[in-house]
Amino acid sequence: MGGKGTILIVLGFTISFLAFGRNFLNLTKRSSDNVIDYFSEARAHNIAVSAANFACSELFQDKNWTEGFDEIEYQGGEFSVEVRDTLVDSKIIEAIGIFGEEVDIVRITLQPSSYAKFAWYTGNMSSKIFITGDTVWGPFHTQSELNIGGDAVFWGKATTLKGLKYADKTASPDFYGGIEHGVDIPLPVNYQFDAERDAAIDGVNNHGGSSYFEATDVWLTFHDDGTVSHRVGSGPDSSTYSAPIREDLKTFAPNGVVYLKKGDIYMSGTVKGKITVGSGESSGIGSGNVYLVDDIVYPDDPMVWNAAKQKYVPNNDCENMLGILASNNVVIADNDANVLDKDIRVDASIFCAQGGFKMENSTIPPSGTLYLRGGVVAAQEEIMALTKKDAVTSGYKKFVIFDERFLLSIPPTFPNTGKLEVMSWYE
């Protein structure tokens, strides 16, 4: 009897331990399955991301690349990539990564990159400095060192290729959007406004416009009713120019582009509409300039202060846009309108292919502020103010508010980098 009981007890425990053992094995298997599933998902995801990066690399080198990839073995799995054009000049990359039974997709939208995305871009700062009172709301970049000579304030992200340089030991700039060095965004050498010239010529030849000029100076006065007065002549004295012709902006420049070959443009007024004004194909610094003879603004504010957000936000009711292009300089003219009225206001995105944004006379009396709502892209930084012990003795402090509408829309034919940039990355 005792023997049978012992056998039954041993058998009972054996069965019990077998059940436990099976349970242990199940737990181990579940844990392993968990890890393997996660690993497979992560691997498929990484393969898809890598494939997307391969495709981006191809497109950054050749924006017309459309071949894609088909079932390429990679990292123990495989990937395929499809590149599609869209109706709005953008491209879509769809990268599929496969590992085992796991499939992951990365979808990227790319679009041509415009130079209008900067509040202030300088190719070479040389010895020019940012001073106390200079304020930039928006993206800033320089291809050289960023020279700081005072307590300048940068509210957007600032990037430089070669870092910071303090011209004054007491300088204390604020970078509220952060600063990053080693970022390379080159400006093309001797950029030519071919697209603008072609658009203006097309407007004249095929659409009844008259916004293409050659070997003359052009005087443009914009009016807030959507018209513009234009004259041709020579030099800064408008009284020597031809009689003004006032016409609707769309009649004058049907394609939205005014282009002058070999000459200077003098402009001011209130711009109602979308227009790009370009002065190109200069032969030396005596042409290819745009002179701002007075304020040039929109009838409504492109950016407005939002007290709740404590920042400037786009005014979506403002549909006006101005691009100012110069193969040399955009110049604040030395005249009564600019000197007597100490501030100058500019609503535009400015592009200086070889020069910069400057004063015609850097010794004009101590002045006020350059209020720029838009942006500047210039090959060179030029003097906007002279200072003595951190006080402005002549010229203008810079108060720049980036017109964020330029992130979505740009003035007609405004220069782009010729490359694509990532607009959205879904993974």
Binding site: F13, R30, V35, K117, G177, L408, V422, E427
Partner: protein
């Protein structure tokens, strides 16, 4: 019935008792192991689920199917602390901007569970009610780095400087074994994403 029989009976009783004791000890060890292994498996499964959700969301910081609605993705992180983050995204990929807010709750909210360290991890979408599940999260630490790889110190006053982040998550078994004798009995699993970069923060 002599002495020898009595000794035999006593001997066999002692040996049988010892055998039974060994079997009971074995059984106890088996039950404990079963409980601990089960807890570890649950903690690990919970951790993988939390990580899946967090990775899915964090990779989409600054993403919107209609990219024009987030033209400057660097401004997508609205608020960031060590245990919480609020950011813009397109959660359901419908082209509309959503706000996602992750926040670790306090220990007091889960006093009903035996584990004193577990907390609710809340995921709040737009202004909807918080969604939280007690998956045994005891640690949800976020560390942020700028474009140069420098760690940003708290408080983070300029969220747009965030370029990458480190995520540490620890999940423990909500119930433990033999808790009366040791708090160490809570099985745990730990996961660290050394540098998670939402690609959209670098756009443009």
């Amino acid at each position: 019935m002599g002495y020898s029989t009595l000794i035999d009976l006593m001997g066999s009783t002692v040996i049988g008792g010892l055998l039974l004791l060994i079997l009971l000890t074995l059984n106890d060890a088996a039950v404990e192991n079963n409980f601990v292994y089960g807890g570890e498996a649950i903690a690990q499964a919970n951790l993988v689920e939390v990580v899946r959700i967090v990775e899915y969301d964090f990779r989409k910081i600054g993403y919107c199917k209609d990219w024009e609605k987030i033209p400057d993705p660097s401004k997508s992180v609205l608020m960031a602390t060590q245990n919480s983050i609020k950011f813009l995204t397109d959660d359901d990929n419908d082209g509309n901007i959503d706000t996602i807010f992750y926040q670790l709750g306090s220990e007091n909210e889960l006093e009903s569970t035996p584990n004193p360290n577990d907390k609710m991890l809340y995921r709040i979408r737009n202004n909807e009610d918080p969604i939280g599940a007690n998956l045994g999260v005891t640690q949800f630490d976020l560390f942020y780095y700028d474009a140069l790889g420098n760690e940003l110190s708290f408080p983070i006053t300029v969220p747009s400087a965030i370029y990458t982040m480190q995520i540490n998550i620890k999940v423990e078994d909500v119930y433990g074994y033999d808790r009366a004798h040791s708090e160490e009995q809570y099985s745990s699993a730990f996961w660290r994403q050394v540098r998670l970069a939402s690609r959209n923060l670098k756009n443009r």
